[in-house]
Amino acid sequence: MEITSTPYKRCDLVKIVGRIDSGTAPRVQEALNLITEAGRFKIVIDLSQVDFMSSAGLRVLVNTQKTCKRFNRGEVVLASVPANICASLDLAGFVPLFKMFDDVTAAVGYF
């Protein structure tokens, strides 16, 4: 699994490539913590190249959303969510927790 973080003026883009499972989810959490610990709470997560996400990955998304939305200081949004992962988010009841955008540019443009 590869993670690329890109800071923009109003938000940070985190692109993940590969599989997010119990083994790799901690690295995603670390990458997101680096951003929130820098005081940046507007985050776009590009899931276009993620082929699998287990509940360990969903947990990372929810934890980070909690951190970002606290004090109204920001938000995590998701871009290019593959259909299977969307079904997982839906089954978990997490769809209402995340704004989702078809493409990364629209997600960055939202902030």
Binding site: D21, S22, F52, S54, S55, K66, N84, L91, A92, L97
Partner: protein, 141 residues
Amino acid sequence: MSGAGFPRTQTFEGNYASLADIAAFVRQAASEVGFGDFAMYMVETAVDEACSNIIEHAYGGEDIGKIQITCQDAPTELKIIIQDWGRSFNPQAIPDPDQQADLEDLPGHGLGLFFIRKWMDEVRFSFSGDGNVLTLVKRKE
């Protein structure tokens, strides 16, 4: 091709690095018996959650014990049997996660068993002297 090469069994190290190999093993079986993309994803998810739980809860850590997985093809279903030799537990005692909760109150954990139960057609746990056996059944359409 249905039936050829089944049942097949493989044993994996009980650590998180095995999860990708385990996924490849069960996806291959699911693909061969004719499952479509989403059914394969549901099988992959259930098996991943089950094996993650074995490492985390049954063994209590990585590289403590092994995980053995058998795929059985039948005319109407794919059966996946996952065995470990860690501690047992009472699945009936685990409730579904609370979906009403606010973001702040969401526990985040407790989704694994829920996914397994929702996306598999049959889920049976059995615990005996020879370890713990989880049988997952996914029906063909």
